[in-house]
């Protein structure tokens, strides 16, 4: 671009980062929260708290399976597939969902909306349907949003997220090249120095978790790579995507129905056979074409503590109960691809490692946010003289300021409103789960709109405080709407620690936002104390109103 490699890379870093940073922030925040998807879902379904608290022995796997199969036979005997999740330490319920043959004239969106309602939750102790388990998508909504977005077809969402991820990848690599002193910079922090401080904060959050940022961006692309890059498939499989998927993902192969009715075999012996082979209970069951002569029952093992996301499975005939196939030992390349995928989703992580991934995700959010702020701070310097003479900053600066407020301060509000709506919306509300999602986006939309109307420091403070109150107030909301308040979850049965952790983490994040609002206020008072004329334009998020 400009003369010199470092300058051109700095230019590329700035623009590839800035163009997509607000969508990236949404992806990073939602993706980071997805490390605790099960815990978030548990918090959002207070009806399951009793089951989590009960130290009662869970039903044996075979009995759980019998109960859920009975429930599914009642609801969806003609489903194309049943998906059954058996309880584990992070998810105390038996959950099942199903897909139906598509009706003619049904759009993708309608099918997706229908699928979201096709599920049932059973109590793991009694095997009975959990009474009044509220209609919510819980952490699943946030997890899906981080690669499907929302209010659009999943394909569009994934392309947009993929393009943003490529920009991110380019921004990360060019950012590293820009830094000749990357290691030294990490130990440099010059607080209270305006632009330098933002730069140092950006460097610290970026460099601290650099391997994580690089890994998470690249592996995120790899999870959907066959969609983003079809050329090698085109050449090696003559464009036959299905043949490629059947070979690369052999476990997901689906048989066609025979269209001849046949009763399902008892799952008990299959479960026993799988458990005897693996030494651990089965985690999930996928039944294809139940009650058909070609029915298959796929039993999936928990991925355990290995890096790869490979979940070995055994597939049985659904009619005879005979073993058809089991996962072959993966090849080297296949192991590598699965390890990339596994690294991204971190199912292998135990409590400490999971917390570390979560913190790295937060560092990623901070990196994106400080980077976006830095652009505004730098750019505003160009207008220092104009502003001092009572002029205005340029359109670009104003737009970026507003988007920064709406994303950095506005997104926490959206998350907070989502959790509040989970407890405050009437339980009998039609389409309740979708309404919760609507609440998320209405709150975010309102924050974005207000920020565009008045991108001022007062707006920063206002939105930060609203976000702080919403998030820090969640333990209180939980205490008033359930019996599992912090006292009960912290000192009660171990099964409720996840609920306590949710309360504490959201409180801490709310406190952090509150601190940011307080810090802004103090900064403003200091600037006012020094006299209006000497206000330094570079100090922070200052706009024409403040000048």
């Amino acid at each position: 671009m400009r003369e010199g490699l470092r300058q051109s890379m700095a230019w590329l870093h700035t623009w590839s980062g800035l163009l997509v940073c607000w969508v990236l922030l949404l992806i990073f925040m939602a993706g980071t929260s997805a490390y605790y998807r099960d815990e978030i879902t548990l918090w959002m379904k207070p009806e399951l708290h009793a089951a989590a608290a009960a130290n009662a022995t869970l039903l044996p796997t075979a009995a759980s399976a019998a109960h859920v199969v009975a429930a599914l036979q009642e609801r969806a005997p003609k489903a194309t597939a049943w998906f059954i999740g058996l309880p584990d330490e992070r998810n105390p319920a038996i959950v099942a969902s199903w897909t139906l043959p598509p009706k003619k004239g049904m759009s993708m969106a309608e099918r997706r909306a229908a699928f979201r309602k096709q599920n049932v939750t059973l109590d793991p102790v009694s095997g009975l349907e959990t009474p009044n388990a509220r209609d919510t998508r819980g952490g699943e909504f946030l997890y899906r949003m981080h690669f499907d977005l929302y209010y659009m077809s999943a394909i569009w969402g994934r392309w947009i997220v993929g393009i943003c991820a490529m920009f991110m990848l380019v921004a990360i690599i060019s950012g590293v090249i820009t830094h000749k002193r990357i290691f030294k910079d990490f130990f440099t922090f010059r607080p209270k120095k305006g632009q330098r401080s933002w730069l140092d904060a950006h460097n610290a959050t970026a460099v601290l978790a650099l391997p994580f940022h690089l890994m998470i961006t690249y592996t995120g692309i790899v999870t959907l790579m066959f969609m983003y890059m079809g050329a090698p498939t085109q050449a090696l499989y003559k464009g036959d995507q299905q043949a490629m998927f059947a070979e690369v993902f052999p476990d997901n192969e689906r048989v066609k129905p025979a269209k001849v009715a046949a009763p399902l075999a008892d799952f008990g012996p299959m479960l026993a056979q799988a458990q005897a082979k693996w030494g651990v209970p089965v985690a999930r069951i996928v039944v294809s074409h139940p009650n058909d002569a070609n029915a298959t029952v796929q039993l999936v093992r928990p991925s355990g503590q290995q890096l790869s996301n490979i979940e070995p499975s055994m597939t049985f005939s659904g009619v005879t109960g005979a073993l058809i196939s089991s996962t072959a030992e993966p090849s080297g390349v296949s192991s590598m691809r699965r390890a990339f995928y596994g690294l991204h989703v971190a199912h292998f992580a135990d409590t400490v490692l999971r917390a570390l991934f979560f913190l790295c995700g937060l560092a990623g959010c901070a990196m994106v946010a400080t980077g976006a702020l830095l652009w505004g701070v730098k750019e505003r310097q160009k207008y220092a003289k104009v502003v001092a003479q009572g002029g205005r900053v340029g359109f670009g600066v104003r737009l970026v300021d507003a988007l920064n407020i709406g994303a950095i301060a506005g997104l926490p509000i959206a998350f907070g409103v989502y959790f509040w709506s989970n407890r405050l919306l009437p339980l009998a509300l039609e389409n309740r789960a979708a309404m919760e999602a609507n609440c998320f986006f209405m709150a975010w939309g309102a924050a974005m709109l207000l920020a565009q109307i008045r991108p001022t420091r007062a707006m920063w403070r206002f939105q930060l405080i609203v976000g702080a109150l919403l998030l820090a107030g969640l333990p209180l909301l939980n205490a008033f709407t359930t019996t599992t308040h912090l006292g009960a979850t912290l000192f009660g049965p171990a099964g409720l620690r996840a609920v306590a952790a949710f309360d504490l983490v959201t409180f801490a994040l709310g406190a952090l936002l509150g601190y940011a609002a307080w810090w802004l206020k103090r900064k403003e008072q200091k600037a006012a104390g020094k006299g209006a004329g000497s206000a330094r334009p570079a100090v922070t998020i200052q706009t024409r109103e403040a000048a």
């Binding site: 671009m1 380019v170 790899v222 050449a235 090696l236 070979e247």
Partner: protein, 100 residues
């Protein structure tokens, strides 16, 4: 004078952006496809492994191409480099029968 310089600068940026996003994708597609074909013919790699490895590497090649487009001296050189490399690798792919 400054206006023409400014416009030339902007045109240069636009040309590079297209070369990076579109041309870079093209180069990544051609290079990874050639790699996939070579992996199955020269190495005892299964089709499934070759397509996985090639597609994974496509997303290493792509950002490298983007960085190069913005690092090189001029927009014209960026275009020439991307198209030249794509044509060269595409020719090799054609010779190897990958396009048959």
């Amino acid at each position: 004078m400054t206006i023409t310089v400014d416009r030339r600068y902007r045109l240069g940026v636009a040309a590079r952006a297209v070369a990076a996003i579109g041309g870079g994708y093209l180069l990544a597609a051609v290079a990874s496809t050639l790699l996939g074909v070579l992996l199955t013919t020269l190495l005892p790699l299964s089709r499934a492994d070759a397509v996985s490895l090639a597609t994974m590497l496509a997303f290493v090649i792509y950002p490298c191409a983007v960085l190069w487009v913005f690092a090189t001296a001029s927009a014209g050189r960026a275009w020439a480099g991307i198209l030249g490399a794509s044509a060269l690798l595409g020719g090799a792919l054609w010779l190897s029968g990958g396009l048959a």
